[in-house]
């Protein structure tokens, strides 16, 4: 099964991965080989078979609604690459020169 260079690039954009030029042909080949292998599933008739999303049956559980201590604000922020005034800091997503979709 062939995977085009554009498909790799589109998928990388969806996956929020920047690819180095040399990674692209390697991923093209690897994805083609793996998808070729998983295509064996197509031979199996699964009409009328219900998908399994959860292997062990379990009713949707609800826990008791009680208050409990949670992680302190400063502890939650301690590992942040950048934080200020109790918030995580990220590059601006409004305004700036970046094209739409790249912000």
């Amino acid at each position: 099964m062939a995977i085009t260079r554009d498909e790799v690039l589109e998928t990388a954009l969806l996956a929020r991965l920047e690819l180095a030029p040399e990674e692209i042909p390697a991923l093209q080949a690897d994805l083609a080989a793996i998808l070729g292998y998983v295509a064996t599933l197509a031979a199996l008739d699964t009409a009328g078979v219900e998908p399994t999303t959860h292997a062990v049956p379990l009713d949707c559980p609800l826990r008791d609604d009680v208050t409990a201590p949670h992680l302190a604000h400063d502890e939650a922020l301690r590992a942040a690459p950048a934080a200020d005034e109790g918030c995580f800091v990220v590059p601006a997503i409004i305004g700036g020169d970046a094209p739409e979709g790249e912000r």
Partner: protein
């Protein structure tokens, strides 16, 4: 007593509880062993010497005051680096988390600490638990204690190697498609993946949420039974954890296998199975028969589709779970002028090749227009795999199979071909797809001295039956588990050549 590192967790706990030796003595002995030997093996990513000794001293003080010893009182344990540990670096084998010091403990760490365990440190693994050889660790591979030129298996390769080389009395790992059982098999230790939901996943870094499960690796069956009693059970912090009572698994010892029906699935003994592995596993099944079990042949006809279904499901779920590594709240950030650019550059720099490959595959399979063809199809096949097991378990109480088609392979042998690496999981992924409990236990060696593992699979929540058979097998075949030689005796290629062809009988095991 002489060297405290020569006994497993269950026996060590009894000796500490009887105050024949202190936890500090046991902990020091393990720390010394790690210092002397782990340079060659690279099983540990982080050793918390100070914390371990302080904890051991506190346990000793509590015992001296007459406090009742916990079920793991004073026992030095180590955790796969996928378990979140407060104040102790947790990387999941990835650069994207290098240097991260978590602000909380996961349930596994909490329960181990409450049971009195001493945490020695964190163990090497394939990055984000994606791999079957530990070669995908961002911090360099772990080596197999039986032959330093070979892999320990993965992804809990550090856990299996550390237990095999007696660098800890007990370890925890996780198993998404075989990641406890396959390295246990390749390193000659016992490892159990419990029923999906049996052990809480709170504070376990997620790979594929519908498959991931936590379990222990130990030198003997009793060590794993004890550890599972401690970590199993419902946890309100994990919505998938099962509200079922936890038996005392150690009570399964000595019950024997008379009356137990052991199913042997024909599909697990076909092409691709190494003949020496087949011979050892067949002999182990014969030993169960000799001990009184009834052996029946069964069929799991969808076995050949399991790997394909597994790799679609696990990569799809991983692509979603790993979206959280975005350089915003913790871990690595590679700053760019835009937020999207920052995400993409951070992930490009932080993830290794196999993780990127799986994120790409999962993202591709979940794309609009492909969902039915890939992810939903794989989930339907998952239903067929579960049905296979349900039918087989009408005729037997337990399944016995090889754990891995091959003994430990050489470093570098399969890294260039991801698909060849995936096929190492031929006998382990079905168990995860069906949510069943499964164990690997040592059942002998190849002529080159590499361990072989017997896999026992049970019905959901019937870990007890697995333990019953495992205890019986272990008692019937006491030579099946040995300690590997001192890594200093295995110097490079000479070490590998030295073991080739010569069965390392008890004489090759290190003096105790």
């Amino acid at each position: 007593m002489s060297d405290p590192t020569t006994v497993g967790a269950a026996e060590l706990r009894e000796r500490i509880a009887r105050r024949e030796l202190s936890s500090v003595e046991a902990t020091r002995a393990y720390l010394d062993r790690i210092a002397r030997r782990d340079g060659r093996l690279h099983a540990f990513l982080h050793v918390d010497e100070e914390g371990a000794l302080a904890r051991a001293a506190a346990i000793d003080a509590a015992l001296a005051r007459g406090e009742a010893p916990g079920p793991l009182a004073g026992v030095p344990v180590a955790l796969k680096d996928i378990f979140v540990t407060r104040g102790i670096p947790t990387t999941c084998g990835s650069r994207i988390l290098a240097g991260w010091v978590p602000p909380y403990d996961g349930t596994a760490a909490t329960r181990l600490r409450a049971a009195g365990a001493v945490l020695l440190g964190k163990l090497n693994m394939d990055e984000f638990a994606m791999g079957s050889s530990n070669e995908n660790s961002a911090f360099g591979p772990t080596r197999n204690p039986w032959d330093l030129q070979r892999v320990p298996g993965g992804s809990s390769g550090g856990s299996a190697a550390a237990v095999a080389a007696s660098l800890c009395a007990l370890a925890l790992g996780t198993d998404t498609g075989g990641s406890i059982r396959q390295p246990a098999s390749l390193c000659g230790v016992v490892g159990i993946k419990p029923t999906y939901g049996r052990v809480s996943r709170y504070g376990v870094i997620a790979f594929a949420s519908s498959l991931d499960q936590v379990g222990p690796l130990g030198r003997g069956v009793a060590d794993c039974a004890l550890a599972l009693e401690v970590i199993a059970g419902h946890d309100p912090r994990d919505a998938t954890s099962l509200p079922a009572p936890v038996p005392r698994y150690r009570d399964a010892a000595g019950r024997g296998v008379r009356g137990l029906r052991v199913g042997v699935p024909t599909e697990y003994f076909g092409a691709g199975l190494d003949p020496e592995v087949a011979a050892a596993v067949t002999a182990a099944i014969e030993s169960l028969r000799a001990a009184g079990a009834a052996v029946v042949s069964v069929s799991l006809p969808h076995t050949e589709y399991a790997i394909a279904a597994y790799y679609l499901i696990c990569t799809a779920e991983a692509s979603s779970n790993l979206a959280r590594y975005d350089g915003v709240r913790y871990g690595l950030r590679v700053e760019r002028p835009t937020l999207q650019g920052t995400y993409r550059a951070t992930r490009a720099a932080g993830f290794g090749p196999e993780v990127k490959r799986r994120i790409m595959l999962g993202t591709y399979a979940l794309r609009a227009g492909y969902y039915d063809e890939y992810y939903r199809k794989a989930q339907c096949v998952r239903t067929l795999v579960r049905e296979d097991f349900r039918r087989a378990f009408e005729r037997c109480d337990l399944l016995a199979t090889p754990t891995s088609p091959l003994p430990a392979f050489r470093l570098g042998e399969k890294v260039a071909d991801p698909l060849a690496m995936y096929l190492c999981d031929a006998y382990t992924t079905s168990c995860n797809l069906a949510g069943l409990p499964g164990m690997s236990l040592p059942c002998g060696f190849t002529a080159a001295g590499l361990p072989v593992g017997l896999q026992l699979l049970g019905r959901p929540l019937e870990e007890e039956t697995i333990f019953r058979a495992a205890f019986a097998y272990e008692a019937a075949a006491p030579g099946s588990a040995r300690r590997p030689p001192d890594p200093d005796a295995l110097t490079g290629a000479a070490g590998a050549a030295g073991t080739a062809g010569a069965a390392p009988a008890a004489t090759a095991a290190e003096p105790t």
